[in-house]
């Protein structure tokens, strides 16, 4: 399996605080879940993969190139935690604008596909500001799907969504991954762990476990239980 995201000794300092004290990891094709409590450094790590985070030292390579470098800018789709769309434009207008920025060739088809993928067909001409929270974050997700990117970096895309919708979105992530894409999804909800092909458990800026859900679970009850065992095991040793 080719490793599409390679992080080596990444150190990030924000406001005098070491958020990532030097982590190394590799992410391949498939759906990889980045799980950990709020404030553990998930977003910072994802920002570093997209190339919008100032890093102190270490390297982040995506598809064999430095993160954030020019050739990657239309190959990496990114969804920030806040819905990064324009509230005063409709869903379709938002998508049209971002498609033009991405230089998408067949804009209308790309918009249709993105809207259908996040199930917003019935709201496509509605102004984003009048959508409910979950619909807004789906509009933001649709923007990330526009350019048919090879790598998707999704920061908590399913937070607060209805269970049915969450299931549909995870199915979408797997469809995207089955076509060979890298899908990196963060969540602070441990029960989403079982839906991932691989897991990265994160705590206080460090990766404390890296493997398939069943490997990490071992004989623990669930991933949350496994997480606790790892943390408590560390405290003992």
């Amino acid at each position: 399996m080719m490793n599409n995201i390679v992080i080596t000794d990444l150190r990030v300092v924000r406001g005098g605080r070491e958020v990532l004290p030097g982590i190394s990891l590799e992410v391949g094709a498939g759906v990889t879940g980045l799980l950990g409590p709020s404030g553990c450094g998930k977003s910072t790590l994802m920002r570093a993969v997209v190339g919008v985070q100032q890093v102190r030292s270490g390297s982040v390579e995506v598809l064999g190139r430095p993160a954030g470098s020019k050739p990657l800018r239309d190959r990496v789709g990114y969804v920030t935690q806040a819905a990064s769309v324009y509230d005063d434009l409709s869903v379709a207008e938002n998508l049209r604008f971002f498609a033009r920025v991405l230089g998408v060739a067949a804009i209308d088809e790309a918009i249709d596909r993105a809207v259908a993928a996040v199930d917003l067909d019935s709201h496509r001409d509605q102004v984003v500001g009048s959508l409910r929270g979950g619909q807004r974050s789906r509009a933001s997700l649709a923007v990330a799907l526009l350019g048919d990117p090879d790598v998707l970096v999704l920061d908590e895309p399913t937070v607060g969504l209805d269970p049915v919708l969450r299931r549909d979105l995870w199915a979408l992530f797997h469809r995207l991954a089955d076509a060979g894409r890298v899908v990196l999804v963060s969540s602070h909800v441990m029960d989403e762990a079982e839906r991932c092909d691989r897991l990265l458990l994160m705590r206080e800026g460090r990766i404390i476990a890296n493997g398939t859900p069943s490997e990490i679970r071992g004989d623990a009850r669930d991933i949350e239980d496994a997480f606790l065992r790892i943390v408590e095991g560390e405290a003992v040793s």
Binding site: R14, G15, V50, G51, V52, Q53, Q54, V55, G68, K70, R73, D74, V76, Y78, T80, Q81, A82, A83, S84, V85, Y86, D87, D88, L89, E93, F97, F98, R100, V101, L102, G103, V127, V143
Partner: protein
């Protein structure tokens, strides 16, 4: 191409916001009428003296405010971060805003000039369209400075506070209240390095002796400041942030 995408998007946003659009277009006309009314009972051509200056002030102040608040919104909503992770040049972003607000300024000043010259009897000796050119360059200047200061504001509240800092001294020293050559020497020198002074000079020249070469010289200075402002604005746009 991407510049036009940004400009088109900004214009769509403003078109959607009817109240802002109405304020942008109607308010300058009302204020210039108010100024004319103030001088209505006084002898002499006082309106001819202050009117042109006001025509230069509107596009500058309005675009400064609108731009600093909208770009701050882009920074805090995450849309700027998303755009800078995409294949969008910083100049595409800045020029997109400049084009959009320049276009609005063109309509805004066309209306204000039409009211001033057509209804209120402002005497313009130079070509009337040149008033529009000055207003557009002036608006681009306001946009450029607004983009620049938005980098130093953490909230919209702070962004608005930049107006007394950046705009008011320029209004005081631009020659509208006291002719620039009658200012104390130090203030005269300061007035000479503030861009708004040249925009007001250009407007007054058009109403006065109307030497087109002088007007174009002033326009060139304002445009130079605007381009420098855009360059500074580009320097504050970082793809990587803390």
């Amino acid at each position: 191409m991407r510049t036009l995408a940004v400009a088109g998007r900004v214009l769509t946003q403003i078109r959607r916001d009817h109240r802002t659009l109405a304020m942008l277009l109607v308010l300058p006309c009302l204020l210039i009428t108010l100024l004319w009314w103030m001088f209505a009972d006084l002898p002499g051509a006082a309106f001819d003296r202050f009117g042109p200056g006001l025509l230069a002030l509107f596009p500058f102040i309005v675009m400064f405010l609108v731009t600093s608040v909208t770009t701050l919104r882009e920074r805090s909503s995450g849309t700027l971060e998303r755009l800078l992770s995409m294949p969008l040049g910083k100049l595409d972003f800045l020029l997109g805003y400049a084009v959009a607000f320049g276009a609005i300024a063109a309509v805004q000043s066309a209306l204000a000039v039409a009211v001033s010259v057509g209804l209120l009897g402002l005497d313009v000796n130079g070509p009337v369209w040149l008033l529009g050119v000055v207003a557009i360059v002036d608006a681009v200047l306001g946009t450029a400075l607004g983009l620049f200061v938005s980098a130093f504001a953490a909230t919209e509240f702070q962004a608005v506070q930049f107006m007394p800092l950046v705009v008011v001294p320029q209004i005081l020293l631009c020659g509208l209240f006291v002719a620039r050559d009658s200012l104390p020497r130090v203030l005269e020198v300061i007035s000479g390095v503030l861009p708004l002074s040249y925009a007001v000079d250009a407007m007054q020249e058009l109403v006065g002796t109307a030497d087109e070469a002088v007007v174009w010289g002033d326009v060139g200075v304002v445009l130079g400041f605007a381009l420098a402002g855009l360059a500074l604005g580009a320097a504050t746009l970082r793809r990587r942030t803390e």
